[in-house]
């Protein structure tokens, strides 16, 4: 124990006469001896006089009968000093006086030594117990702190891990979904594009051929018919009328262009789907926002009610760097949410503008809006307010992920008046208008 507040004792440490006798104990005894007739009384250790009476002996007495008698003082069996009485030793009382003095001092020394040893060992034990208690307390405190930390961290860790798992699951699910859509789109595109190619080509050729058939029929009708006999002319007119050739020639001119335009629409739908899924585009290719939005709307054509009014105000948008398919998916989810929030009479305004180094894309609808207490949760995976089976709660998570993929964020506000406004802030890449 190096602590200065702590008294350290070694059991057995040697003691001196001064340690076990106090002046206040010795002085009255020496004084009494002198009062009883001695000339001088003193206690010495070796040659050093520790205490004496009178304190300043003036002259040594020259009497021949005046002698100095010394008796030992014992400490743990060792003579550590002596008590000396200078008196007329022919007087038997003086000898007795000296013995009494020695006995009194030895008794006091012994009693004091015992008391000191007891006190010392008691102090030592108390110190030690205290140290041990402190150590035990330190250990307990440390272990308590460790357990508390463990318990607290455990909860946090469980939460973290749960969140991570949910995110991972959501991402996996989404990736799978995207991949499935992509594969489907790619397969469809391939399978449909080939027959569609010759259908369109043949339709165009057929249109040409049909034109020639019609020309030929007209030629027969007007030039060669007049050369026929009256019977044959009648028969030909009747046949023409029976077969409704006037209507046919008229209608065939409309049928084939309609077929061609239909096939061309199929071709466009496939192209949109491929564009939406970014099948033919390198992942590092710049993303054009207007194009991505247009493709998304094209793909969603069937979902969007006829009475919905979708207004686009895209001003001066730069190209972005990132995953275009993910952005399209995000747009689709935002538009779909708007449609589902307001199945009839939807008015959706999509504004896009550049603010500093960000692109700000706001989707504002006239639906019921998002309740304030739900806003902190709607971007969490699997959070949904819909009925079971109506949605798995990943729509806005994808939007959130997409915004993050473009080093941005997404916020939800109240739209002025009524409805919700989702705003994506995306980091603008370098490049021209998108």
């Amino acid at each position: 124990m190096s602590n200065v507040d702590c008294l350290e004792f070694l059991v057995g440490a040697e003691k001196e006469l001064r340690d076990v006798l106090a002046a206040s104990e010795v002085a009255p005894l020496l004084h009494a001896a002198v009062t009883a007739g001695a000339h001088r009384a003193l206690v010495q250790s070796g040659r050093e006089v520790l205490w004496q009476w009178p304190e300043d002996p003036v002259v040594a007495t020259e009497s021949p009968t005046c002698l100095m008698k010394a008796l030992p003082l014992w400490l743990e069996g060792e003579a550590v000093g002596e008590v000396c009485v200078e008196a007329d030793m022919t007087h038997p009382a003086h000898d007795a006086l000296t013995r009494m003095l020695a006995a009194a001092l030895n008794t006091a020394m012994n009693a004091n030594l015992k008391r000191m040893l007891t006190t010392e060992i008691h102090t030592q034990v108390v110190n030690q117990s205290y140290e041990e208690l402190l150590a035990a307390n330190r250990d307990l405190t440390a272990s308590e702190a460790r357990y508390r930390e463990l318990a607290e961290h455990l909860e946090v860790r469980v939460q973290e891990r749960t969140a991570e798992l949910e995110q991972t699951w959501a991402r996996l699910l989404r990736q799978e979904k995207m991949a499935a859509v992509g594969t489907l789109a790619a397969g469809m595109a391939h399978e449909i594009n080939n027959p569609l190619g010759f259908i369109l080509s043949n339709l165009n050729t057929l249109q040409k051929y049909v034109g020639r058939f019609v020309d030929m029929l007209e030629f027969f009708n007007h030039r060669i018919g007049a050369c026929l006999s009256a019977d044959l002319q009648d028969a030909a007119r009747n046949k023409w009328r029976d077969l409704r050739m006037d209507y046919l020639t008229e209608d065939v001119a409309e049928l084939l262009p309609q077929c061609i335009s239909g096939a061309q629409r199929v071709k466009q739908i496939i192209a949109d789907l491929r564009g939406f899924a970014h099948i033919d585009v390198a992942e590092t290719a710049p993303v054009k926002i207007a194009e991505a939005l247009a493709r998304t709307l094209a793909v969603m054509k069937a979902e969007i009610p006829a009475d919905a009014r979708i207004e686009q105000r895209l001003v001066n948008l730069p190209e972005l760097k990132g995953n275009g398919a993910l952005l399209c998916q995000a747009f689709m989810n935002l538009i779909r949410n708007a449609v589902q929030a307001r199945p009839e009479g939807l008015e959706l305004t999509i504004r896009g503008e550049r603010c500093a180094d960000e692109v700000c894309l706001a989707f504002r609808d006239n639906g019921p809006g998002v309740a304030a207490d739900l806003r902190s949760r709607i971007f969490e995976p699997f959070f949904t307010t819909r009925e079971v089976g109506q949605g798995i709660g990943l729509g806005l998570t994808v939007v959130h992920e997409a915004a993050r993929a473009f080093s941005g964020r997404v916020e939800v506000h109240d739209a002025p008046g009524v409805g919700a406004e989702f705003v994506m802030y995306l980091k603008a890449g370098e490049g021209g208008d998108g």
């Binding site: 743990e76 069996g77 060792e78 015992k114 040893l117």
Partner: protein, 216 residues
């Protein structure tokens, strides 16, 4: 060693009588006090006791002088045996030069002996001493009582340790001086190795033992 003061030419040693409660440590010291002449020893000092049980310690000092003039003081202590006085035992054990372990031979006390010996081992380590190197003697006391562990059993258990064993009946004074002499001899051997008592101070082991055990 409590202290060695070359200027003063004085060496103060410490021997400790350790062991379970009521095994006869104080009785050993009382008998030493009885058996040995007052020359060379001081008085037995017993600090406060309760119900005849030591709660602090007992002390019996011995004195001897080497031919070189070196004065050697040996303080022999007992410790309180009761489990609760562990801190006191530790305090007394500090800087011990040798230990006599007083075991109680009664069969019923075997467990206490073992616990106390383990406690000795632990406390020695705590005060920085090594049970393997400190001079040690084991006394099986109370041989006069019935139902004691047999000497053959004791021998079988303890011989492998190499620690000297002494049978005793301290109340009758039997084996007490022998125990003390074995401990003193072993302590001397270790001191001599370290401090060259024989070479530098002309103090032989025989001389050392003779001065310590002058019989009444």
């Amino acid at each position: 060693m409590i202290e060695f003061n070359p200027a003063d030419n004085k060496m103060v040693l410490k021997l400790v009588y350790y062991g379970p409660a009521l095994s006869g440590k104080t009785t050993n010291l009382l008998q030493l006090h009885e058996l040995l002449a007052p020359e060379g020893r001081g008085d037995l000092m017993m600090l406060d006791t309760r119900d005849d049980r030591t709660i602090y310690f007992d002390l019996l000092p011995f004195f001897l002088t080497a031919p070189s003039g070196l004065r050697i003081k040996i303080k022999v202590y007992t410790v309180p045996g009761q489990v609760r006085h562990d801190s006191t035992r530790k305090a007394v054990l500090q800087r011990a030069d040798g230990v006599a372990f007083i075991a109680d031979s009664q069969l019923s006390e075997t467990g206490n002996n073992v616990a106390s010996f383990e406690n000795l081992e632990k406390n020695l380590a705590l005060v920085g001493l090594d049970i393997a190197s400190i001079p040690l003697v084991i006394q099986f006391n109370k041989r006069d009582l019935p139902r004691v562990v047999s000497e053959a059993d004791i021998d079988r258990t303890w011989r492998p340790t190499g620690i000297p064993i002494q049978m005793a009946s301290a109340v009758a004074g039997a084996g007490v001086l022998e125990t003390f002499s074995i401990l003193a001899a072993r302590t001397f051997m270790q001191l001599d190795e370290r401090w060259r008592l024989e070479r530098d101070h002309g103090l032989s082991q025989e001389d050392f033992l003779r001065q310590l055990s002058v019989r009444n």
